[in-house]
Symmetry: C2
């Protein structure tokens, strides 16, 4: 496809990756088949507006028709508002991903669990800090706690996990105060979900 559509395709992929979603997950959220998403992102189809809207809105984006003159200003605003994600060391990034995955799995299994929200918030809040690799084992055991709780259906474990996670967050925030509020101007949301679909 043409060059103007390329940018749109790229923006979609970036947005998806920024939200740490796989094509399949996005597919579920947007109701667009994964195969189609792959083709769209590689700019090999002339997609219909309905598909674009579905994907965009699943990614918290909106389609705007902007006067050419306003494009630079809009880009600047967009950049400002765009996820400024804390970049974690690779090992930490991976582990956080696993952790999110565990939480998602839990959510599927026990969607009504009230502690679940706590857990998600704590994870989101943790995600916003720069985490040193020395906390890797903490994260891992945190995840194990969650997984164990899930498999045994001992929901108390979730409660404990949420507590430990908050404690960890506070500890990191305390020892590494510089990294907190690194994004002073904008709240931004790095990887938190804020609102998952149910």
């Amino acid at each position: 496809m043409s060059y103007e559509t390329r940018e749109i395709a790229d923006r979609l992929r970036e947005a998806r990756e920024a939200k740490q979603l796989s094509q399949r997950e996005l597919s579920r959220l947007a109701g667009v088949p994964q195969a189609q998403i792959s083709r769209i992102e590689s700019n090999s189809v002339d997609l219909r507006l309905s598909s674009l809207v579905a994907l965009a809105s699943a990614l918290d984006l909106e389609i705007a028709l902007v006067p050419r003159k306003a494009v630079p200003a809009v880009k600047s605003i967009t950049r400002q508002t765009t996820d400024r994600t804390v970049i974690q060391p690779p090992a930490i990034g991976k582990e956080m991903q696993q952790l999110q995955k565990a939480i998602r799995a839990l959510q599927i299994e026990a969607p009504t669990l009230p502690e679940l929200d706590e857990l998600r918030k704590a994870a989101a809040s943790l995600q916003r800090l720069q985490i040193d690799t020395r906390y890797l084992s903490h994260l891992r055991s945190l995840r194990h706690t969650i997984e164990r709780a899930r498999s045994t259906e001992q929901w108390r474990g979730i409660f404990e996990a949420a507590n430990s996670m908050r404690a960890l967050r506070n500890q990191i925030a305390h020892f590494e105060p510089a990294s907190e509020q690194r994004n002073a101007n904008r709240p931004a949301y790095s990887l938190d979900e804020e609102d998952d679909d149910a």
Copy 2:
């Protein structure tokens, strides 16, 4: 079609009308059949991205994927940048439309005429002022001059018309200085060209 696409369709129509283009003219510019434009504006098709891009770019618009959070800011910018046109008294509006039509006709007949650009600029500049109905006859005779020049191919008439138009503009700007740059709250539409395609 759905509700989110409605807005896009509306934006397209607004942009077209703000540029004083008929569906057929836009059709020519964008290479999209008039019938299709009608369907699109009435939101009765799920148009392909390529069509959207074609129309948008003919209308000097660009498609942007904006984070939800940034939407208000972007709207504000867009509004700011959007041609805010003066709302003329009906009679003046009609006459200005006729005048634009005459210029367009001329453009088709003698596209290479160098005075034509002058003429267009003068008309655009005039358009930006609030024109009192007492200038109606001026406008009308201005138009007649242009039409006569066109039919007789006496291109000198164009030159004169451009001059008179500039003079008229200055006179109005002088007697009605308050109305200049009176960008009311409503962008509305009305008439403005700002920059045409070449």
